[in-house]
């Protein structure tokens, strides 16, 4: 069995977009039914039953056009505004700060675009001609989601100089890299691959001081964005703590539907926003297009569930993640490393170049999401992780396992056995612990 087949079989996120499910990829060691092996909750979650019910009801009841001045329109509009309250409430925002969007990708693109446009307009408005040739500068990390990374790389109207920071010196490195032309800092709240979390609240505190000075100097007020896609639903997220200007919300990462929302601080009078799409003027003109009411109503429900139960979800996920990591350690002993937790023990420092690097050293420690584990195996090269604070040696041998609200102990035991069998087959003979040591302890 190829390691690649293992990855496919055990439903591991592996970011190898060119690999398709091959028809001859069979595996006979099934312990639970195949579709029970889902350890990819960071890619997407199923919808909560309550959310499905809400969407289903809404498809029947709220089909009117919220812009229409009649009873069907009014029903839809009320439902939409209730959903907006639920989204806002989850993150301690107010409803008028919430913009409904097609998803996280649109939200992230919109923030980048808005910051750049706002900076350009600011430059033009300055009487001081020394600003006139200033190109916008954006600070971000090397580990952002593609919907931040690619607009910055490719998009012709997000023309900006970009500083990509490694994760090891956050948050101070953010402040150290500010330039007079900096217009936006965008740092995710939690990384999708390793689960490590960044202290955006800390960045906000430091930035607040910087912005005070900049105001006195007549410089552009730097905007702060965080993509909270992976954090929401796993840990409490509160904009009054984070003090960001923008925060991205993605429904399908927390048992909601495939739509998103963007928090914009004091939208209208606060953080600037420029529409990417023009048309009927929906969402106060910031996002035209007849609203996908049933999906937004479903998003509202998913947010309400999170607000009510996030600590319970979080606690369950953490328990499962801890058990998963313990079982993996039992099964693979020294042949496995939990990334961003275990010390790096690559003998050749060249191979582990991210500081603090070298043999036997401990990697920087970040808090982690309760549901995510990134593990490196010492055997096969698996091209997965890059720039995530994991040395290239380990990055090439890593997989991600993310648990969800439904994950159970038997599932974890089954998947650990499954991974072990697959690896044994791929790379016989291995000196792994005997199988008796992998069973039945919590």
């Amino acid at each position: 069995m190829q390691f690649i087949d293992l990855l496919i079989y055990v439903s591991i996120y592996c970011k190898m977009n060119d690999i398709k499910l091959s028809s001859n990829s069979t595996h006979s060691s099934t312990i639970l039914p195949v579709n029970k092996f889902y350890f990819d909750y960071n890619a997407t979650t199923p919808l909560a039953p309550e959310v499905i019910q809400t969407i289903n009801d809404s498809l029947k009841e709220h089909w009117g056009n919220p812009s229409s001045n009649h009873i069907e329109g009014s029903k839809a509009k009320k439902a939409l505004e209730k959903a907006r309250e639920e989204v806002a409430s989850m993150i301690s925002a107010i409803p008028s700060e919430i913009l409904f969007l097609s998803g996280g990708t649109e939200a992230n693109n919109l923030v980048l675009y808005s910051a750049v446009v706002h900076f350009k307009k600011w430059v033009i408005s300055q009487p001081d001609s020394s600003f006139s040739h200033m190109k916008p500068h954006i600070i971000t990390t090397k580990v952002e989601h593609d919907s931040i990374k690619y607009p910055l790389l490719r998009r012709y109207f997000v023309e900006a100089d970009v500083t990509y920071l490694g994760v090891e010196n956050l948050p101070t490195s953010v402040i150290d890299n500010i330039r007079p032309s900096t217009c936006l800092i965008t740092v995710m709240l939690a990384n999708n691959e390793t689960g490590i979390m960044f202290s955006v609240a800390h960045i906000a505190r430091l930035l607040s001081e910087v912005n005070k000075k900049r105001e006195a100097e007549g410089l552009f007020k730097i905007l702060l964005h965080t993509d909270a896609a992976q954090a929401i639903g796993k840990l409490p997220v509160d904009v009054t703590d984070l003090k960001v200007d923008y925060l991205t919300i993605v429904g399908h990462k927390f048992y909601g539907p495939r739509v998103g929302a963007l928090y914009v601080k004091k939208l209208g009078s606060g953080a600037p926003l420029y529409p990417l799409l023009y048309g009927g003027g929906q969402e106060r003109g910031y996002r035209s297009g007849t609203e996908n009411t049933p999906m937004y109503v479903g998003l509202g429900k998913a947010c309400a569930l999170v607000q009510e139960n996030v600590l319970e979800y979080s606690s369950h996920m953490k328990k499962m993640r801890v058990y998963l990591e313990r079982q993996l350690k039992k099964a693979f002993a020294n042949y496995i490393k939990i990334n961003c937790v275990d010390p790096c023990n690559v003998s050749n420092p060249e191979e582990c170049s991210i500081p603090p690097s070298g043999p036997k050293q401990t990697h920087f420690i970040f808090p982690r999401l309760p549901n995510t584990t990134s593990v490196s195996f010492y055997y096969p090269e698996v091209p997965v992780l890059e720039n995530s604070g994991v040395c290239s040696f380990h990055a090439k041998r890593s997989i991600r396992l993310s648990v969800g609200r439904e994950t159970t102990v038997p599932e974890i035991e089954a998947i650990v056995i499954d991974i072990k069998q697959a690896i044994s087959k791929a790379l016989d003979p291995l000196k792994l612990p005997t199988s008796s040591s992998t069973s039945n302890s919590t």
Copy 2:
């Protein structure tokens, strides 16, 4: 009773966005329950029961991330591709020419953006420096949807000269207005307010000749787009007849969900397309963002229903529309005019300035959608229609009524009585025909 209350009450589309449902807006002459009075199917339709069921099943079954290389991802991807086939099949396209999008607004914005970007890239690529200062030019009509109108008016990266054509001399006026710098012609297939239809196929034939000459002259090949939002589901729409480069599809106008699709002729090797949103590279990189699978699966179902039943839908709608117009004529006699059908009989030619104008003259006649009637009353001024081939006198006195698959004869009779009572109350005394003449004939 205010005329405005009538508009709200009878669920007429009236494009007065600043008017809210007032709490003291009461009406006692209810014949059918209020929510039965729905004559606004051009604003949005309810979802077909089969579509609701499909979405509901899909929310449970296809929640996986279509980009994930595992069983849940694969199930979602298959469902998505089946839906793409259904959308393509409805308009005689091939699946690879269909791009799933959040809605018609995104589709229309994307076309405008792509044409402009493509033209700019073409200009840069020309060795002949005489092209280098050429600004893109777009030809459209005065009656396009806001999602065409406003991007052209407001959007800073759709920088183009625009020619807005009146509808009276289409399609020849399109060709007459072509310039060397013309990059796009966008003309809707059917107008949302009056229901009049434009011969896009005719424009395509004429344009094909023009493009042959332009090719010989080394000029940019002009692209052709049609927004088919209002036509699909009411009449057969076939891209092999229309021969357009782009065609906009909007689910919620034909009993589908609030998402859309864009037909792009030979996408990848044919009509150019440039992404507005970057990220995970979904939709072959043309539209990033995890796909809203259940909604697209629902769109596919709505398209399959249309493909199977469009002639039946069309025939029913037309029957209802004919009956509605007959009942209105009985109720209002000479005090009503069916726009784009009846001759204009304003005595002062100044008041009816769109050619052919003047007293007693017949307006140009276009084919109309089977479901839409735009009627003008001679009494109150209702600020509704502009530029739609209706003189300003009539435009100010017009309302739109659009019927749907469920519209019945009793509903029509009820709404006609309702409108008549409301107008009588608003403008007593009127010399309307007696109520006996409005009842019971098909």
